[in-house]
């Protein structure tokens, strides 16, 4: 599991952790059932407050991405493929929305954007 905290970022630290773990779960870097470090160990390693790591894990649990078993720790929730797919689709939509915003801001037409996409797809 990789986590990097940007101290000077405006994004709250717990959100940075939630985001990075979430990404790794959705992209399969962290597999279903895999054990996560305890909130205390994570806090210790990252040199941040336990309250922060707890909040991050609470967020992930709320989104159904991890499960906490009392006394044993936290584990990546067993997802089925469709659920993961849905989630990743949602992320992709978000990214595309940003692309559209940027294009509009630069005055680029939809046609030009589709052209750029075609070129990129063919590059593979």
């Amino acid at each position: 599991m990789h986590i990097i905290i940007a101290n000077s970022s405006a994004e709250p630290i717990y959100e940075q952790i939630t985001r990075q773990i979430k990404n790794q779960i959705l992209t399969g870097v962290l597999s279903a059932g895999e054990a996560l470090p305890s909130i205390r160990n994570l806090a210790r390693e990252l040199q941040i407050s336990v309250i922060t790591t707890k909040r991050a894990y609470d967020e992930l649990e709320r989104e159904g991405l991890i499960e906490t078993v009392g006394g044993k720790g936290s584990f990546v929730a067993g997802q089925n493929k469709e659920y993961l797919h849905e989630k990743r689709l949602g992320l992709l939509e978000g990214k595309l929305a940003r692309v559209v915003d940027e294009a509009k801001g630069l005055g680029i037409t939809k046609k030009e954007v589709v052209e750029m996409l075609t070129v990129l797809f063919e590059e593979d």
Binding site: R44, Q47, V50
Partner: protein, 288 residues
Amino acid sequence: MGNVLEIKDLRKQYDGFLLKDISFSLPEGYVMGFIGPNGAGKTTTIKLIMNLIRRDAGEIEVCGFDNIANEQEMKEQIGFVYDENYYYEELTVNEIKRIVAPFYRNWDEGVYQQYLKLFELPAHKKIKALSKGMKMKFSLALALSHQARFLIMDEPTSGLDPVFRSELLDILRGYLISADRGVLFSSHVTSDLDKIADYVTLINNGEILLCCSKEELLGQYGLVKGDKRLLEEGLRRELIGLQENSFGFTALTKSAANIAARRYENLLVERPSLEDIMLYMIRGEKHV
């Protein structure tokens, strides 16, 4: 899940200083950063906990033990590290251990030896021959070797270099892996507390200005910087410790999210450090 420390309506009067009915508590498993300027009452509070001075009113409980009715039992639970070395300069490391260890029911010689090795403390050297940092490490070794559940540290890092302070923080993190312990860390090196504190209590002139989790603090408070022309009444009301110079103003606010959402032009809202919070709140108190 109990509280490692509970203080209720604590009051102490000195010549020219009054600790005014302060209350706060620290739950198990966390570090509380105790910040405030010199003379604010941090050391007084700690001395009251240790019963080195007598309180005028209020209650203090450590791990459930009343600090006067069960004074000895309470002190068994406490490991203390003070700002200066108060151990006998003429005696050696080992001699002091031989004097101190028998007083603790749960003294663990094995653990002590481990810390001695980890800190590279020479057992047969006199205390006066140790550097300031080594003296502090020695106090810490003693404090950590009797299964203490509550660690009290009164400005332990003043005068120590950053490498040293970082090592200390690491040791504290290791100490807290066991979730039934707590640490009260009083300091004005707030950068250390930025890194390790879970809860923060700010005290000034014998009064508590704020007490909450650092997470909450950094979520609610923001450092506001901007163009002086933006300073109309509506905004001024939300600002604490306002400071103006020829190029703009800076201030602290408790409604960071709110102000950021208004999207003023030429206004920046940043995450504050504990030092910022302390400085601006204290400055704010002065102008009231």
